[in-house]
Amino acid sequence: MGEMDTLKKEADGLKTQIETARKAVNDTTMAAVASGVAAAPRIQLKNRKTLKGHLAKIYGLHWSADNRHMVSASQDGKLLIWDTYTGNKVYAVPLKSSWVMSCSMAPSGNLVASGGLDNMCTIVNIKAASPKTIRELDAHEGYLSHSRFLNDSEILTASGDTTCCLWDLETGKQKVVYKSHVGDCMCLAMSPDQNTFISGACDSSAKLWDIRDGGCKQTFIGHTSDINAIAFFPSGTAIITGSDDCTLKMYDLRADQEVNGYQDAALNAGVTSVSLSSSGRLVFAGYDNFNCNIWDSLKAEKVGVLSGHDNRVSCIGVPDDGLGICTGSWDSFLKIWN
């Protein structure tokens, strides 16, 4: 067992080295730096639309790049594509497996993806004469928790098998496998420049990956439970994570550490979902307690709440133009607020 002991000592030494290096640049807190900034205003958003149509819990939603259409996934076994300006359903895609956990739409608007306890990511062309499954991506050994298209020929997936994967949609095969997490991967988000992505997992860590070479560049620790939600700050230089430990954290990529935390002693519910307003100043977080809290990202103060759902808020999203926010819930409804 000599080599194992040596390796363990080496690993512990490196972890200490990393912590020391992080402390060395930890010369202040975001709270101190932001004390001179005016507080964000109290945010009171109105529920402009309620999208009704799903018959069971909603598990995922994703805005189209056109800022108007959206795909949602429910364990009623359907994906619905909505025109959010009118509230009308444009397409309905029946799923082979109703145990869906996530959905996404390609930037082109041509393709949608879904997956869940079937361990597969199913790609459907919604612009065909009637929605047509074009690929079933079938190599993960655990559930599919999240997916995001880079374009019509590449998609990133996160899985309960602890890996993330980049797939080639022309061949249906894995191009790159991202291995480093030691717990189920629950969420992922792409950087604005599409060169890197971040993942959150049940090992309480978030990781930054190089999309093309598959390498893990940085690991962010501090959460004490599963990370269910993750998002990039719009500058691409920081990330926000939401966890079952009832907190959100902001990690700065260049300082390589946590720079802000969003929590409340009274809040006793896990964070399920997170999305930011277009300037990054507002953090919208969905919780198990049926609400969505709005946080000032700089001062870490609660500045508003979205209440209206009768069950857990499971997913949340702000379209690219920042004109609204959509919440999806286990109560089977989607609500749009601004």
Binding site: A11, I18, T29, V33, T237, R254, R281, V318, G324
Partner: protein, 72 residues
């Protein structure tokens, strides 16, 4: 990690962990003061274009239900 894994797999896994930690230990880090200031600056520069922060005039709100106009 399964305790049923043969010991050679444990060693391979431990070597990979050390390799990964070496990569993460070697990156350059900037000061939290600079990182925070840059994030604040970004928010400040983009605040006026942030509809959820600034509010949206009814005429420009695509989600607001429009009342029908009667042509008299």
């Amino acid at each position: 990690m399964s305790s049923k894994m043969p010991s050679s797999n444990n060693v391979t896994q431990a070597r990979r962990t050390v390799q990964q930690l070496k990569i993460e230990a070697s990156i350059e880090r900037i000061k939290v003061s600079k990182a925070s200031a840059d994030l604040m600056h970004y928010c400040g520069e983009h605040a006026k274009y942030d509809p959820l922060l600034m509010g949206i005039p009814a005429s420009e709100n695509p989600f607001k239900d429009k009342k029908p106009c009667a042509i008299l």
